[in-house]
Amino acid sequence: MNSISPNIALFIPCYVDQFFPNVGIASLELLEKLGCSVTYPIGQTCCGQPMANSGYERDTAGTARHFTEIFKGFDYIVAPSGSCVLHVKEHSPKIAGMEKEQKGIQDKIFELTEFLTDVLKVENLQGSYPHRVGYHASCHGQRGLRLASSSELQEAPYNKAHHLLKNLKGLEWVELSRKDECCGFGGTFAVTEEALSIQMGKDRLEDHLSHQVEILTGGDMSCIMHLQGIASRNRENIKFKHIAEILNEAIS
């Protein structure tokens, strides 16, 4: 990063704002602890992903224009969600007259762990987190933003979340049987294909439970909300935290 502190905007996805304020707080505090100067533009709403993935990308023009207006002046935009970041990068409809601003946003928006590893170049995070942690690789971060190597591809193994967590004292990173299989959330898929969604979630959860995972973490609260919802309905003994919460807790 430049020696002059860049102007960083925090983008908190709508469902995180409404249901998981602690994830927003953890993201903000974590970035501040790492020396960033962060603003949360107060007029922000949603990126438009739920509509676009349902087949109504054309109806997200107003949402995309608003998003661009809100975030255009910043050096970086950081969000604790791979899925929303991928949407902004790939599926925002073109906004007439704002092409340059829109392209600028698409180039400088980052998912949180990606921002920490690739922009802040965080190495050797010092802290302590004595727990058995299972990582859920959310698909849009995994195969869309390439936050970790894909099991399908021939490539050198890497994982940005693991890179950040591996030095925390006492943290046990759990290897799963299927390290990057989908959990079945999938936005509206969770309700339109309810039976499949639940089955996929149960199977994903079982992988963590059978490996004695104590805390299931990940970079997207949407997948975690789905898995947590199934676990809590079935009274499973497992906790859920966004990776921002773990990092923020561990290094304080």
Binding site: V23, Y40, P50, D59, H66, C182, G186, L196, M200
Partner: protein
């Protein structure tokens, strides 16, 4: 029935659904392991994809070159614009040969054209000679997977079926025993058929030859015993040169079943003395798909089935849940081009997880095309309740005030409504999942208090 209804029915038999998932995951895993023994795997995928790009951009020229060379080799070439023409051409040849029974090795194209029922209606006995296909044929079912047609059946079910159809011992589930019984049964059929039908995996423009890949050698067996060979080929199966074959054959078997090579890659170039080869080149919607800029890439498919094996939806809903000849992710981007209305639920039978695109040996951007088909389908469906709610959502998200008010109303409702209402059966979220606890304030409210 739509995909969600079919999937939900499939999942009712929990132990079988789990078995189906694990069986196909085993194939996916085998594919992963063997692909990783080829250091140049990703370059091979790139190369294959580029060769197919070239083919799709020059398809007209390659097809003419292919036809010219095939004719020179003594192959009789026929063109069919659709399934109907294809079936009529095949029947005409069979009538000329006065042929009452044919053997057929696996061909997804003839499934697509519904050739079997058409020939049977015209009094011709059709025997599928691929073991899996023969099994589903006995059951009057279509294949549930393009490479593993009977993957939805367990060996106990096959044992019962063979006891009924082939008089094998009741309760004997030994796969070797059952395969031997099928072999004896098929041998008779092979010996009796004057005409053999095969599909085509690759047609080589440069030489006019074509290649058929089978693991059981059943294409060769049929063709060599028969007097006439009818090969049915989709026009997108062209590759420019014989030397391109190596790229595809290395990718195909590894992607399909995790084998280093298909057992039989049979080259057919010209008929033996006194025999005939007929090649039927079929369009059936392919040129229409080629004209669709966003979806033309789907024609690169070499029918390896890897996207089915990796798909977390396919593995847990089975091939029949799609109701289309080609099921799974690739089927869900091909089928809407054939009938948008009938297959409108298929592009939504996905979480857009992207695993299909990463396993695809010819790098078709399958999940991106699923996303694009969703956009097309909602446009075609016009205004309905869903489209109005999307317009409403856009209205809310473009206005910070509307967002704050509607968010607040939702949170108040969730906090105060009784669980019996929140988890009402019409709320699909709550059927098998709890909702998160509603926090006392939003992040926005917290930020307002603590930071500004």
């Amino acid at each position: 029935m739509s995909h969600p209804e079919n999937a939900s029915a499939f999942l009712k038999d929990q132990s079988k659904a789990k078995w189906h998932d694990e069986t196909l995951w085993f194939v996916r895993d085998k594919r992963d392991r063997i692909s990783k023994t080829v250091p140049e795997w990703e370059s091979l995928r790139n190369l294959a994809s580029q060769i197919k790009d070239n083919v799709l951009s020059n398809l007209d020229n390659y097809l003419e070159e292919f036809e010219k060379n095939a004719l020179k080799n003594g192959i009789q070439v026929h063109w069919a614009k659709d399934a109907e023409e294809h079936n009529a051409i095949v029947l005409k040849i069979l009538k000329e040969k006065n042929c009452p029974a044919i053997v057929k090795s696996k061909s997804i194209l003839t499934e697509e054209c519904h050739l079997n029922p058409y020939l049977e209606k015209n009094g011709i006995e059709v025997v599928d000679t691929d073991l899996g296909e023969r099994i589903v044929q006995f059951l009057n079912q279509p294949p549930s997977h393009i490479v593993l047609p009977a993957i939805h059946l367990k060996k106990g079910e096959i044992s019962e079926l063979f006891h009924e159809k082939l008089q094998t011992e009741k309760g004997n589930e030994d796969p070797e025993y059952l395969t031997h019984a099928a072999r004896t049964h098929l041998r008779e059929k092979f010996l009796g058929a004057k005409v053999a039908i095969t599909g085509v995996n690759f047609g080589v423009a440069e030489t006019g030859e074509f290649v058929v890949c089978t693991n059981e050698g059943n294409a060769d067996m049929g063709v060599h015993l028969a007097e006439t060979h009818i090969a049915c080929m989709g026009i997108e199966k062209i590759i420019p040169r014989r030397k391109d074959l190596g790229v595809f054959l290395r990718l195909l078997a590894r992607s399909a079943t995790g084998q280093p090579i298909t057992n039989y890659n049979s080259h057919f170039r010209s008929p033996a003395t006194g025999k005939e080869i007929h090649l039927v080149l079929v369009d059936n919607g392919r040129t229409a798909q080629l004209a669709r800029e966003k979806f033309r890439n789907s024609l690169k498919c070499i029918r390896c089935g890897a996207c089915m094996n990796t798909c977390p939806i396919y593995r847990r809903s089975g091939g029949y849940s799609y109701g289309s000849t080609v099921p799974g992710p690739i089927g869900s981007i091909l089928s809407p081009g054939i009938d948008l209305n009938k297959y409108s639920s298929l592009p939504f039978a996905s979480t857009l997880c992207g695993s299909c695109s990463d396993v695809c040996p010819v790098k078709i951007n399958i999940h991106e095309q699923l996303y694009e088909w969703r956009q097309e389908i909602t446009k075609a469906q016009g205004t309905n309740g869903k489209s109005l709610s999307m317009k409403l959502a856009n209205g809310i998200f473009r206005s910070p005030l509307a967002y704050r008010i509607s968010g607040k109303l939702m949170r108040i409702a969730l906090k105060n409504l009784p669980n019996s209402l929140i988890y009402h059966p019409i709320n699909s979220w709550g059927k098998g999942r709890n909702l998160p606890e509603t926090p006392k304030e939003t992040f926005k409210e917290w930020y307002h208090k603590n930071r500004s």
